[in-house]
């Protein structure tokens, strides 16, 4: 007789099993009404009439437009989009980096001990986290709509809108990346009396550089896509071109623009991979 068989029945079973089953059931119970609320009925997609509508929509995208004058416009718009995304992310970095340094617990001197100024430190971190939340809670399109009214139609409104929303997103995620990496090196430096910036540069960045870069480039990629939506409200770039093509029901132009997006996303991937290799 084996030892397992000799145990009472309950001891041979995984004690976690009941909890996992419970969690799975709970997820189903929560998800079902949410799907109902979102009117999620995938079967509708496959009804004959709807398939024809979608087919017609997609067919109008063929063939991609390639008239020289359109390609010229496309090139200008692409450069404009890249400029909006890059300038927006660069400005966002200026917002995010200082706020993340203030907000991260990994660089708190007053938490050691805890020492003098711990309530002030905690209050400051809370306030900065609140600010980051406000910055990213308002969608960039809303900022864009506002800035277009102030600055007029054009890329400048897009850049500002991206800088604010993405500053909030980058700041929040930087804060958390700095806390989820190994924080002991930075804490040791702080314990030896070094300043926050030095502890960041010598203790945290070497461990977190890859993740920080990867997330920043991914956000740049998102900014390229976001600039399309903002283009719809007149903030320039590929979005504005796409808006015009769609309104004129010119599917060929739209599909060429989509191809450019695909290329830009591939470019972002390549940049991210190259930077991560360089930082490995």
């Amino acid at each position: 007789m084996s030892t397992v068989a000799a145990l009472p029945g309950s001891a041979a079973r995984d004690p976690e099993a009941r909890r996992r089953l419970g969690a799975a059931l709970l997820a189903l119970v929560v998800l079902w009404p949410l799907l109902q609320l979102a009117e999620f009925r995938p079967a509708v997609l496959f009804e004959a009439g709807n398939l024809r509508v979608m087919g017609g929509f997609l067919a109008s995208f063929m063939p991609p437009a390639h008239a020289p004058e359109f390609l010229g416009l496309l090139l200008t718009a692409t450069l404009e989009t890249l400029a909006i995304a890059t300038a927006g992310i660069a400005l966002a970095l200026f917002i995010a980096a200082p706020l993340a340094i203030c907000a991260t617990r990994a660089l708190s001197v007053s938490r050691i001990g805890p020492g003098p100024g711990r309530w002030r430190g905690q209050a400051l971190r809370g306030a900065v986290r609140g600010l980051l939340t406000i910055l990213r809670a308002v969608p960039e399109i809303v900022w864009a709509l506002m800035f277009v009214r102030v600055l007029g139609l054009g890329p400048a409104a897009g850049v500002l809108a991206l800088a604010i929303t993405y500053g909030g997103m980058l700041g929040k995620v930087y804060t958390e990346i700095l806390e989820s990496t190994d924080t002991r090196p930075a804490r040791t430096l702080l314990e030896a009396g070094s300043g926050r910036l030095a502890a960041l540069a010598y203790g945290l960045i070497p461990n977190a550089a890859q993740e920080l870069t990867s997330y920043t480039v991914y956000r740049w990629e998102c900014a390229v896509r976001a600039s399309v939506i903002m283009g719809f409200v007149g903030a320039g770039g590929l979005g504005q071109l796409m808006d015009q093509s769609m309104k004129m029901l010119n599917g060929g132009e739209a599909s060429t623009i989509l191809l450019v997006f695909l290329l830009l996303v591939l470019l972002a991937d390549a940049i991210s991979a190259a930077l991560r290799r360089a930082l490995a």
Partner: protein, 284 residues
């Protein structure tokens, strides 16, 4: 001269009520060298973290280098911390850092922020880092990345960082646990020499009792967070040690793990041969 460390009824209790350190009364003169020994879980690391102002005592009081750290303003506490150098058992050095950068980081507390950041672009004191590493026979690894080093080499980089820091109080938590006996001996010799040169105080927790008795004139035995004994090394006898390590089956840990060493621990003191570092090249 005022003492460099004073503790009165010093205690540390964790959130779960577990007492890591309890009722410690200690006084250390400047330049004194003290070893802390005791079974694992005796509170050695907690004590060192208390002395290093990394943890705040839950009871009692503590004076470090003439000041009560927990009554200082933030700026003064920071300046006090730059005068304390801690050698950690597992050196908290990011693996991607180069050895030279890891050593220079020892003086970040004294450098202005701009100098520290500049040093990441081009190391500002290559000669200083090389000299500190040379004392631990690692000068040839100056520009290597720390993830290329073995555990023992990394531990020596951690020691080099504190030598470069030139603190007035050196706290060493199992500083040579990853080194073989000869290297361990030589590394402790360097810490002791550095402290002797500048009159720095040393408190080191050591697993190997023979090392403690050989290099430290005063030995503190810690058990269950409380003081078991606090004596000159020459007065520590085998019975006391067996008693201290009763929870580990009366086996007193040593470098070679040779129990015969313990028959006459006092004999291990002065006169024991000092191993030269260059005879250990290629180890650890």
């Amino acid at each position: 001269m005022s003492p460099s460390l004073v503790t009165r009824n010093l205690g540390l209790a964790h959130g779960n009520g577990l007492r890591a350190v309890h009722g410690l009364d200690l006084q250390l003169a400047p330049g004194e060298r003290v070893a802390v020994i005791g079974p694992s879980g005796a509170g050695k690391t907690s004590l060192l973290r208390l002395l290093g102002t990394a943890l705040r005592p839950t009871v009692g009081r503590l004076d470090v280098l003439g000041a009560n750290p927990w009554q200082l303003a933030a700026g003064d506490l920071r300046r006090l911390r730059t005068r304390i150098g801690t050698i950690h058992q597992a050196p908290p050095i990011p693996p991607r850092l180069r050895v030279v950068t890891a050593v220079l980081a020892g003086r970040l507390g004294r450098w202005p922020a701009a100098k520290g950041l500049l040093s990441l672009l081009y190391p500002v004191d290559i000669a200083g880092a090389r000299a500190a590493l040379a004392r631990l026979d690692l000068a040839d690894r100056l520009f290597e990345r720390c993830d290329r080093l073995s555990g023992g080499q990394l531990q020596r980089v951690g020691i080099a960082r504190v030598l470069y820091q030139q603190p007035e109080l050196i706290l060493a938590d199992e500083p040579v646990s990853a080194l073989d006996p000869m290297l361990a001996d030589a590394a402790i010799a360097q810490i002791v020499a550095e402290a002797g040169q500048r009159g720095a105080t040393v408190v080191a927790s050591l697993h190997a009792v023979d090392l403690a008795l050989k290099w430290f004139p005063r030995v503190i035995g810690l058990r269950g967070g409380e003081l078991a004994f606090d004596l000159p090394a020459a007065q520590v006898d085998a019975a006391m040690l067996r008693d201290l390590y009763a929870s580990e089956g009366n086996v007193v840990p040593t470098q070679a793990n040779d129990p015969t060493l313990l028959q006459a621990p006092a004999e291990l003191g002065v006169g024991a041969p000092v191993v030269r570092l260059d005879s250990c090249r290629g180890r650890g």
